[in-house]
Symmetry: C2
Subunit: 279 residues, 2 copies
């Protein structure tokens, strides 16, 4: 199978590497607006060739859109205009805006909207790693809007990566990812900014920052090119959960002000319940 | 050297294991209010014997206070009442309250206030691991208030664990740890509570929670027995940095409401500066 990856960064690049390695792809073509990204991806053996947008679509059996989500919203209709038999997927972190962009498109059936839930705080082709997806979860949304053969091939692709597939509606997907992914990023960005603001003496942070701090601010290294479009696309749900988050932090603040450490204890015990869900 | 550990949990237990393993301690005696912790620690080979508070002090060359910080504040003066030549250290996460509790004590010089900056989200003797401290940073505070021979032995102990030693005033220590450690915990507790509150369908969280979420809520598994006393001791500094943190998150909220994604982008770029400090 020939696969074209449009946008060869962390996610697109990792997918390309993995699918070449496990033999699902016989050949991977790369399309990237950023010329140096394209060259780097070829140099690193992530893609076999860098091709034009049109050739990438024409020559492929499967096209993967791995650009930032606002770019996917714009590119996807153009890709669907050009396909007939090819299968198109996207791997963006938001799904409502993307599916809406091709609602009613004559080739909508060739498109399968997906979200492999994997990543690191790094970006660009250099960040691509072959085992990024192994054992992780991938979401296929609005399955009923895609042609059954297209869904089947995409399922086979994710299964070849040993991913667990779950099925959501696009709306439901965006709410849940606001909760478990997008808000974690804002929390981490804010924590990093707070510490950078309060702690002008960076040597002290460096000396004292233990594993706890490093793990809590890890996501704060995530790049704005990827993340601003995600917050733009998922603004309403993120705002909702952000309000809840601010209320919860303020609860801790109020209890500290009141010196009500009994209630503080109970809140921590409640938070500990997250153990049931995350190992 | 005979070392007595008072409070054999994650930190005290890990210290006991490491110091036996590297030969710094010839024998480790354990003192724990919680009988089952004591038995468990003996069973796991963390301590050689469980002894009474009085024997633990009398028989030791070095006494390590590894109880929750509010307990250390209460126990430390009693320990110093009983020592003459022995060295006493604590390993608590706050330092002002603890040093204040023995200010002017006739045996103050035998006490060295320390904070090895290491930990995990687990607790109790079962959580003890021998390599917890290797390569991490430890703080010795108010060095000038301790006898030089006591400081020297404590430095040798931490060097035997391959720890980097830094020296702070107790006041300065508590401010810095509020920034880089305590606030991370509140942020993580609040994030866990927010998600648990908003996401009633736990199966969905479980399916979708990727590495990013897991790393951001890792500290939310930390136990209240350890952490409430820390927040109690370090309340004022934590409140100060908590206000800043709430302001920063609210900044993100305002920009989302205004759809000012250009400023949102700049804020993320600023947060990315944390890369300079945390790898």
């Amino acid at each position: 199978m020939i696969i074209t990856v449009i946008g060869i960064g962390l996610i697109g690049g990792s997918l390309a590497l993995s699918l070449k390695q496990n033999g699902f792809a016989d050949k991977v073509l790369g399309v990237d607006q950023n010329e140096s990204h394209g060259e780097k991806a070829k140099e690193l053996g992530i893609v076999d060739e860098i091709v034009s947008f049109e050739s990438g679509i024409k020559e492929a059996d499967l096209i993967v859109l791995a650009a930032p989500v606002n770019a996917i919203v714009k590119i996807l209709p153009k890709v669907l205009d050009l396909v007939d038999h090819q299968i198109v997927i996207d791997v963006g972190s938001t799904k409502e805006g993307i599916t809406l962009a091709v609602k009613g498109h004559q080739h909508r059936g060739r498109f399968v909207a997906t979200h492999p839930m994997a990543g690191t705080e790094y970006s660009g082709p250099e960040a691509a790693i072959p085992d990024l997806f192994t054992g992780k979860c991938t979401v296929i949304v609005d399955r009923e809007d895609s042609d059954p053969d297209a869904v089947k091939t995409v399922e086979e692709m994710y299964q070849s990566l040993q991913m667990n597939i779950v099925y959501h509606h696009s709306h439901e997907h965006d709410i849940h990812t606001a909760y478990v992914s997008h808000i974690s990023h804002i929390s981490s960005f804010a924590l990093a900014l707070t510490v950078l603001e309060k702690e002008k003496n960076e040597k002290r942070i460096f000396e004292l920052a233990g594993g706890g701090f490093s793990s809590t601010v890890r996501l704060a290294k995530s790049n704005p090119e990827t993340w601003v479009p995600i917050f733009e696309q998922n603004r309403d749900y993120v705002l909702d959960v952000l309000d809840e988050h601010i209320n919860t932090i303020s609860k801790f603040r109020t209890l500290l002000i009141k010196k009500d450490f009994e209630s503080f204890y109970k809140l921590i015990q409640q938070a500990n319940q997250i153990r049931r869900i995350v190992n």
